[in-house]
Symmetry: C2
Subunit: 247 residues, 2 copies
């Protein structure tokens, strides 16, 4: 049975997140709906590298599925795009080996978070950035970013609501921030991320940027393992699942 993997982008604005839920518009629901049409009513389950929340976007989410159809791997792109709504797009499709798994085989994920640092909001970006009108010390933010790189217990920076199995130790390969005109782009690359982790990291880094806390305070926060010590959770619309890397 052929196995197909796809790299997809979606605008999360009008979705109740990635994962399928009854009576809700979800990315998984739309893609499985399109696959069902292609398979003449047969239900096809897709597997993604991970979920994204309501309002969160993806530039490079990876999914896979098994199919009974013998269609060339690169033809799935067109077949799916013809049926999908205009806020999901398959950028690439290919046949992969039978043992590939979009979730279990991930070696690195990259998230980006975009902050628009201007007095007036840009209404055309209201669903795609976090408008943050306060003066920011970018150098302090960059300094704070360094404290997050490496292997740490990120309990402080994960949602208290999350019902976790296993420990909260994760390794971040890159945490950086770059000013690009009136936007601040955060890059997070790591082996894995906890629930809401990127958004809490951004909320905390902007507290540093506003000089409410010092960059070195990050160390104490990590040690405290207390969600209440971190900043607030940044809103979803600035967050992008940017790229998923496999071996």
């Amino acid at each position: 049975m052929p196995k197909i993997s796809c790299i997809i982008a979606y605008d999360g604005t009008n979705y109740s997140g990635y994962q399928i839920q009854p009576q809700k518009r979800t990315v998984q629901g739309e893609i499985e709906g399109a696959l069902m049409k292609i398979h003449k009513g047969e239900q096809i389950r897709i597997h993604a590298s991970g979920r994204t929340d309501t309002g969160v976007h993806a530039k490079g989410q990876t999914i896979h599925f098994d199919t009974s159809l013998h269609i060339p791997g690169n033809s799935w792109k067109k077949a799916l795009n013809t049926l999908l709504p205009n806020d999901v797009y398959v950028h690439h499709s290919e046949e992969v080996s039978a043992d590939f798994h979009a979730r279990y085989d991930v070696v690195e994920k990259e998230y980006r978070y975009i902050v628009q640092n201007t007095i007036d909001p840009d209404i055309f970006k209201r669903n795609y950035v976090w408008h943050y009108p306060y003066k920011l010390n970018i150098q302090a933010i960059q300094e704070a970013c360094n404290f997050f790189e490496g292997t740490h217990d990120f309990t402080t920076f994960s949602s208290a609501k999350a019902t976790v199995k296993g420990n909260k130790i994760r390794t971040l390969y890159e945490v950086s921030c770059q000013q690009e005109n009136d936007q601040i782009v955060f890059v997070f690359r790591g082996s894995g991320f906890l629930y809401n982790m990127v958004r809490i990291l951004v909320g905390t880094l902007l507290d540093v940027g506003q000089e409410k806390i010092k960059p070195s305070a990050i160390m104490d926060m990590l040690e405290s393992k207390d969600r209440n010590k971190a900043g607030k959770t940044a809103p979803p619309q600035g967050l992008y699942l940017w790229k998923v890397r496999y071996q």
Copy 2:
């Protein structure tokens, strides 16, 4: 009675155009609704430099209204933005002289039209550009732009549906096109524009870009005064009322 003028931006995606209509969500309707709240139920009529169609955006539309309230001119910006939905924004407000009129006093309008010239669409821009995946000869388009500058009868390039009063002679000060990465940005500056004119000009210029017609064919088109000789009307979502100039 003080007269206030405002420069506003709006994302036209979720509006049935600028002009107020019963049972429809319109930009004028939203602003007049906000003004009615500020004036405790009193109806305030606003006047714009001109209308925009469903799906068309504005970066710098100008409006004016008369008010019985004595609020400093620059405070209207905040008062209105507090009440307006997040897809309309007042960038500037000021008190103007009693004889100012947002429509009659216009000396120049600037429209821009953005085309995204890539094979794959960028789903994040689906409401803000025209995705045009065909190979384009930019130099030919630039050459064709020159034929539109100056004073011409633009009957060929206006909607056949328009019920016009007066002649269709207009003066364009600038018609230009610039490639910016994977986007092509058209600029149109003129004393006035006919209904659908910019969108028909863009549709025609892209026919030139695809080498379906030669740049010099524009001259014959203008002379024919026949809408059927021009290209098709470009879709609304790439169009922006960019700036309105007054004396």
